[in-house]
Amino acid sequence: MYPFPLTAFTVTSVDNPWTYVVFLVIGFFFGLVLEISGFGNSKKLAAQFYFSDLTVLKVMFGAIVTAMVLLFTGIGLGLVDYNLVYVNTTYLWPMIVGGLIMGVGFIIGGFCPGTSLVSMTTGKIDGFFFVGGVLGGIFLFGETERFYDQWWNVAGYMGRFTLMDWLNLPNGVVVTIIVAMALFMFWGSEQLERIFGKRDLAKEPKLRVAGAAALFAMAVLTIIIGVPSQDQKYSRVIINRTLAGTEVKTPYSADAALAAREMQISPAELFKTIYDQKTILHMIDVRSEADYNLYHIRGAINIPVSQLNSHIKSFLAEAKPNAVYVVMSNDETAATTAWKMLVAESVPNSYILDGGINNWIAAFGKDDPGIKPASTTADDQLRYIFPAALGDRYQSCDPSPIEYEAIEFTPKIQLQMKRDKSGGGCG
């Protein structure tokens, strides 16, 4: 388990008032820094686009590279769990079109939403008008979104897609490239200010060169540190379980939780969870495609273990606090390997089907015509013989909820509430 971000602060709600205070304090310093940088003044913001004063670019990129370098150093050192940091989901086309529209609004109106708030509270009348306009624009969007809902929700959707995924480069290298690009842009904007803004660069503080060098050195350091391996991440996992009959949460290491059989849910519990409206169930069948085609539980998707890592990103991007992931193989060996990968990458609420598909058939398939027990005893192999590869069309692939209404089990699934991503980014 990583120490940061703090689990206590990842879900804001009235039930957890401290998170409100934390975000208020963060907001306070956000507003304060915008103000002291001159972002309450529309003339200073607009000057960016006439090359006379490139404060906007310097502050923005300065902030991005500072936060990025610190954050990725923390990630490399194993202090921060990148998978729990909100990465804005990429909807490429709405973001590009929306960005172009915002750019036009920026140069006409002279603010962006955050800066206009600061401008308003420091008494700038144009700031008041701009905030009024923003509120109107937001209202208009809410009322017109339905006319192109499809486009807005799917055009260029890429999920949690980072520059590392796009360029296929390690974290540290991308961080260094971004820092180098930012430093080049700082140099370029100073040249523009010299030409268009008639600024005397000799009067600029010498300290900025030292700052740039320190920044670059830290970026290179993130390459050297690297990132923790999946095994290292797995060894840090801590799972809090509320044991039957108690109220307190008991921390387990991942291996201890497996050994205590806290993470293996019975076929009966899985069956009941399929019909539970309060959870979003993802059944992941990690067997070979051949076994999957022979027989699988209705609704299970086939992702062999070797391909699981490439799917974890999408689990993280779409993770809702009530999403439950259940991995299954014929017995438990492959499923346990898959489960270790999921918990190492902080996929919330991951469980293993106790006894696998064999146990599922034992529970629901006794009377299924055609399915016959086989004599094999090899681990993680199907112990049944199927007349045909019917996939999920055997009767027991979708047991009757009426017939098994009163089925009993010891519940193991406990929702962790890691994060509600619905409010991520700008909302």
Partner: protein, 212 residues
């Protein structure tokens, strides 16, 4: 000879005491300046910080947000929730039947129960506090030299309208998408950031009368 020396000494003493008196009068003046009314209402106006320092400090705030909470900063999302709150009060049925609004205020959901609302409220207070401390609280209109206040107000309103619409379409504004998403290296955030600059630079020449 003795007389001359005495004269010089007395002159010296006089000039020293004179200087002392001048200093004292300066001191009393500055003491006078320190009354409550001046402290609260007439603070002297200070310069903005150097952009690189501002960027560094903003980066620290952004880092702290990610480090402790896993979330970045935001502005337009918070404003959005105030709008939805009003809509929900006036036309709850409309909110419950529009998928986009439903997510924020459907049924008995409180649209203000979200982290970004707190960030917006905090930034209002923070901006005000800094404006006051640095003597920049003033009712004024910042504009280009060749337009009237009314023109500036109208363009601010129109610009805000366009900005608000675009921000929601992009699922974030400069703070929530460009800054926060940029720092965690989201591809969409970087595409958005360059689009904003491209959009503004493309139009800047045609609206130069507003600013130059």
């Amino acid at each position: 000879m003795m007389r001359q020396i005495r004269l010089i000494i007395s002159e010296l003493i006089f000039s020293v005491s004179q200087r002392k008196r001048e200093k004292m009068s300066v001191a009393t003046e500055s003491q006078k300046k320190f009354d409550l009314k001046t402290f609260f209402l007439n603070r002297s106006k200070k310069d903005y910080v150097h952009p690189y320092l501002g960027g560094f400090l903003l980066g620290l705030v952004l880092f702290a947000a990610f480090f402790f909470t896993g979330n970045g900063l935001g502005a337009s999302g918070g404003l959005n929730r105030f709008i939805v709150l009003v809509e929900d009060a006036i036309a709850p049925h409309h909110v419950d039947t529009t998928p986009y609004l439903l997510k924020m205020a459907g049924g008995d959901k409180n649209p203000l129960d979200d982290w970004v609302v707190m960030v917006v409220l905090g930034s209002l207070v923070g901006g005000f506090a800094s404006g006051w401390w640095n003597g920049r609280l003033k009712f004024e209109t910042n504009k280009g030299p060749n337009i009237s206040n009314r023109t500036r107000w109208a363009t601010a309103l129109i610009g805000g309208l366009i900005m608000g619409y675009g921000a929601r379409m992009a699922r974030g504004c400069t703070s929530g998408l460009a800054l926060s998403g940029g720092a965690v290296l989201s591809v969409g955030a970087w595409a958005f950031m360059f689009s904003v600059f491209a959009g503004a630079y493309a139009v800047a020449y045609f609206v130069r009368k507003l600013w130059l």
